[in-house]
């Protein structure tokens, strides 16, 4: 921790003001990352075994994910897009 001596109450208040809460929806989405990671693993496994599903993902990724019954969250979509580009 940096040396904080000499900070009076006014400065403490000013510093506290620098850290407002992040929007609740952003925090919730970040907290759901472990579940999104599990979804991603399932989708990747399915795409590896099912060529038709892989084609659907390449044609319209978000729609294919939703049609498969999963939430096309930004994390899932961005990671899946990257993986498809690499294949």
């Amino acid at each position: 921790m940096r040396e904080m001596n000499g900070f009076d109450e006014e400065q403490i208040g000013r510093l506290l003001r620098l850290l407002p809460p992040a929007p609740e929806g952003w925090v919730r989405a970040a907290q759901e990352l472990p579940a999104a990671r599990a979804t991603l693993d399932e989708l990747v496994a399915r795409a590896e075994q099912d060529a038709e599903f892989q084609l659907q993902l390449r044609a319209d990724l978000e729609r294919a994910v939703a049609a498969a019954g999963y939430d096309p969250s930004p994390f899932v979509v961005s990671r899946l897009r990257r993986l498809l580009e690499e294949v």
Binding site: L15, L18, A30
Partner: protein, 183 residues
């Protein structure tokens, strides 16, 4: 007083797969990452949201690569900083303008945010009701009246409570500095 886990303890629990630990991790660092995006690099809200999510996604994926669990905060700061700069360069490429990225100014703000996080840690140590009152007043910009209504305390006493709570936080910070100073 509230018993707070250290950053290292929290990271260790995340690594062990404790499902509640990740929620706490996001809760603990969300303000910091949000402030770096918004105050440090002045990203527009939708750009800040993308960077915010990407920071936590990468943190989730790469937490095991962290060399020292104690270093999680500077690691997150560097990650957020890099992603903010990448985003600003992308924006500048798509819509060129005269304004240049001022990394030095952003780094000054990051220094202030580190101080703010230290104050925040002290506030967590002081615990409720001070944490709740100061958070509502300074961080959520609530009026005395709103705070009084939400916490069911007379609005006329809020100012003196804030003052006493700030004093407690200052004492906590002073105590930490004395404890960390070599004798």
């Amino acid at each position: 007083m509230a018993v707070e886990q250290t950053d290292a303890q929290l990271v260790s629990r995340c690594r062990a797969g404790d499902p509640e630990a990740w929620n706490e991790f996001v809760e603990r660092f969300s303000r910091y990452v949000y402030a770096i995006c918004g105050r440090g690099f002045r990203l527009a809200q939708h750009d800040a949201e993308d960077v915010f999510q990407e920071v936590f996604a990468r943190a989730f994926e790469r937490l095991s690569e962290l060399r020292s669990d104690d270093a999680v905060r500077p690691w997150l700061a560097m990650l957020t900083r890099r992603l903010c700069i990448d985003r600003l360069r992308l924006i500048a490429r798509d819509t060129p303008s005269d304004s240049e990225l001022d990394e030095a100014a952003a780094d000054d703000v990051l220094g202030q945010l580190d101080d703010a996080m230290a104050v925040r840690d002290a506030l967590d140590k002081v615990g409720d009701p001070c944490r709740e009152i100061l958070d509502r007043f300074f961080c959520r910009d609530e009026s005395y009246r709103t705070i009084g209504e939400r916490l069911d305390i007379p609005a006329g006493t809020i100012a003196s409570r804030i003052s006493r709570c700030l004093e407690k936080v200052r004492s906590e910070l002073d105590g930490r500095n004395q404890a960390s100073r070599p004798s």
